[in-house]
Symmetry: D2
Subunit: 293 residues, 4 copies
């Protein structure tokens, strides 16, 4: 398929590599061109503008870090909406807010284009291995058309219906559940520690059966070893996700009390200079609130 790809960060690079490897006709664009080098070597055509990455493409995929970047790339001067052919599809695979998702879907529809929200589950190495989970929502025929691409990028695609915001909501709910789980772990480890329990022991107990899954094993291990430099998602990005979840919830009049506890500890950690450490530094804020450190 003729595919454009915009946004070659750690996630985007891995995903684009999968598409290239599968023989799709790939044109890629990234603001800093150097990041496209590996793809170029693999055969992708590297272009210097968003418009070129859209010209003649059936599908343009974006993988961008936040709503503002997406809005600029899609709707700004020289953006996707101005360059994409009638009937072509913009597949946005970043984690985006519900409001931004709605706005994008409307804007593309008004321009005779189709918007598919397809946020992903998994880290860069999972993306590079084509093992992502993908949550896709948008008009059924557009999702069906993208399906071969999703099959190359991921291990499993969850179809979430025609309303793009549902995919956004699912992804935000997933990140919310994860972030709050990490917050709770931070609270529990400090509780146990002040009772003289070694962190490694609590880790073993929790992950033995009840919480024997990647979320708890991964982040629990970081907290147990206080290895805050092993960054999955930074505290700053986690705060962005947290705010997106709270905004998505407010939009449908849902309070998220656990989210506030998570958010407050993230802010506390950032206030102490830990914004670029792993999001599990909520455990550091918890320790400080408990008189440690």
């Amino acid at each position: 398929m003729k595919v454009g790809f915009i946004g070659l960060g750690r996630m985007g690079g891995g995903i684009a590599g999968r598409l290239q490897g599968a023989g799709h006709e790939l044109v890629v664009y990234n603001r800093t061109r150097e990041k496209a080098a590996a793809l170029e070597k693999a055969g992708a055509k590297v272009v210097g503008s968003i418009a070129e990455a859209c010209a003649g493409r059936e599908v343009v995929v974006t993988m961008l870090a936040h709503d503002q970047a997406l809005e600029e790339v899609a709707l700004g001067a020289g953006g996707i909406r101005g360059a994409l052919a009638n009937g072509a599809i913009h597949v946005a695979m970043g984690t985006h807010g519900v409001a931004a998702t709605r706005a994008l879907a409307r804007a593309h529809a008004e321009a005779g284009q189709v918007y598919v929200a397809a946020p992903v589950l998994g880290r860069p190495e999972v993306a590079a291995a084509g093992q992502l989970g993908i949550v896709a929502a948008g008009p059924a025929d557009a999702v069906a058309k993208c399906r071969p691409l999703f099959d190359v990028m991921g291990r499993r695609t969850f179809e979430a219906g025609a309303d793009q915001s549902a995919a956004a909501a699912i992804k935000l709910a997933n990140n919310f559940v994860l972030g709050c789980a990490i917050e709770v772990l931070g609270e529990a480890f400090v509780l146990a520690e002040k009772h003289g329990v070694a962190r490694a022991l609590l880790y073993d107990v929790l992950t033995d059966v009840l919480f024997a899954c990647p979320a708890y094993k991964g982040y629990g291990d970081i907290i147990a070893k206080q290895d805050w430099d092993r960054v999955g998602i930074t505290a700053r990005l986690a705060l962005k996700d947290c705010n997106l979840a709270l905004a998505a919830a407010e939009g449908v009049e849902v309070p998220l009390p656990s989210g506030s506890a998570w958010r407050d500890r993230l802010i506390g950690a950032i206030a102490h200079g830990l914004a670029e450490k792993d999001q599990s530094v909520v455990a550091v804020a918890q320790a400080r609130a408990s008189g440690l450190g």
Copy 2:
């Protein structure tokens, strides 16, 4: 070993059955004698008083529902402390508070007896199958002496040191992490539902990889299907556990903000008549707070 066993509820009955099956010399006592029938048939001796269950025993195991029951059985008139031989061991396997655990340890020590805190991880069917996790703390030689019993009851024993309260803290931390995880799930399911997402879909996404573990699969399924009658732990008992965790944390000057969100929803669910339903009814309180129902 000559073992006394007090408290033959669903958990206690299963554990005692394992001991009897392994050939230990078992004397059992339960307030309502009928619950001892199966064990009697299997060869255990059923007695009519706590004192008889202690007389001549090397180890007496209790599995009681809350601190008050434990304190009465152990320290009340006609209780364990008055009947247990010098040097004999009281192994308490229920979920008990840190303060009660400390008080019990001291009281037994003053009477020349030994207290081992050994709360368990797992549900009644797991107990009956001898597959529990056991968190044991107490004087090293006493724990070592109990080890053959633990090996019969459980799949794995976590040794938590000489201070009994550490075992209590670990067990409470475990239940805290579980309860908060359920609360967070409740919040997330309602968030997604009000965005038009089917509960089964969010369940699939969450438990696919990141949260592919018994805690999320079990309680997530109850919430997804709104099957509140599938009771693991009742809301009322969960509130007891929550309060024990908060008290244990206060005792070492640790705030647990996520615990407050969990506690408030439990209270809300109980206020609406759901005390005896599964603890996942926090999701019902969350739905109500969001204008549903």
Copy 3:
């Protein structure tokens, strides 16, 4: 002084009336012209565009409902920035966010104009009586120049320095303290009610000495009498203020845990259809969370 005035809602109308009454040369603009009728009768000149309200004015005052309105009126096409003379002053008296305040100050400075943030304390009837509290921040000479206007509008002006965002922060902090106080009252009234205490009695006890002040007497009376139609600020506007306070706090890395409790109850009340009732309907959400209604 030659004053332009934009935004003649209930607050703006009262304030503009004070300026007109004091003999200032007033030119007024409101999107819906009818609201200017009373001022016109009193001698003010009513114009049909923002630009006309700015032309030749030394000071232009805005009293607008939210950040978006302010940004459009000040920075949009045909807005204040395009029409105001070099060196002239824009005094914004609405409740605005810290980020918007910063952006406005910068935009006006770049255009050679001066921005003064001067949010007010008091309700419409207080404004009409010239008894407002005013919190003013901006370049010292500009604030000094506005001082005669403030003296006509208000009972007392609090000077908050040269940084406009300080005035915004103070106003948001004030509204935050008020909103949280109302939330706490709602919690307390339900606590007492479920113990059989008449709401009027708790009201009397609280406001007798310790809380004998307008905030508690006013909102306490609404809650005690469940008179939600006596609207000071609607729940929807309170949620806007709450979000502004949380955003202002996040901007300087401050968590506001009490604000989350307030926010969650506001969202809950709105979810139950109470968005346009008085903000004290947090007490209704609290009652519902407690099994009442």
Copy 4:
């Protein structure tokens, strides 16, 4: 009237002094006898046991620091219940929990005595001046009989009906509203401070009109001046009150989300060694959670 008085701390001493000054026949008891010296000089009879303070008295007043002290003094060996005449009245004026209040009322009723709960509002200097607020509940004739005593002790008596627990609930609700107000102030002062606002300025704005009452003026001034040694109620005692309010609320199935924010900051302050400072040190915990200090 023949009055016994037990508990001559700062509050009790002031109240007993008022009774003595009004010509009542006073017999007083305090665990540490020295505290009775001033009353003895004023004409009160000082005795060495609780029983002597009860013998032949129509009314015995207690002013004790917490539930445990009250339970020991009233129900312990040599306690009030054993010594008080049939039909005589025990008036408990301390701040006590709802559960303890119920237990005491029942215990005295079973002994043919009458229990009146009459917690007070006001600080020691207010008590010494006879200007307390008194919230009284109990059998109507008993409250009526105590009325002349209340009139000497206080400025105003709020009658809360026959159920003693209502008075306890009102007092706890009052302290809850106060504690949460202090917590909110702490959050607001740090929010403003990190925006460069002087604490004295925010204090002036808040207490100018909206919050012009003793609660905000008193505790706001402590926070503004960071004068934590000016102790009204210690953080430790505030935590006790907070826990009593949460327990009273749980007893009637009411969540108190703002109370959790307050409680967490109290625990945080205590964890940093501030237990004996004024309860407004929640503002110190808030500052620390925001990266200050």
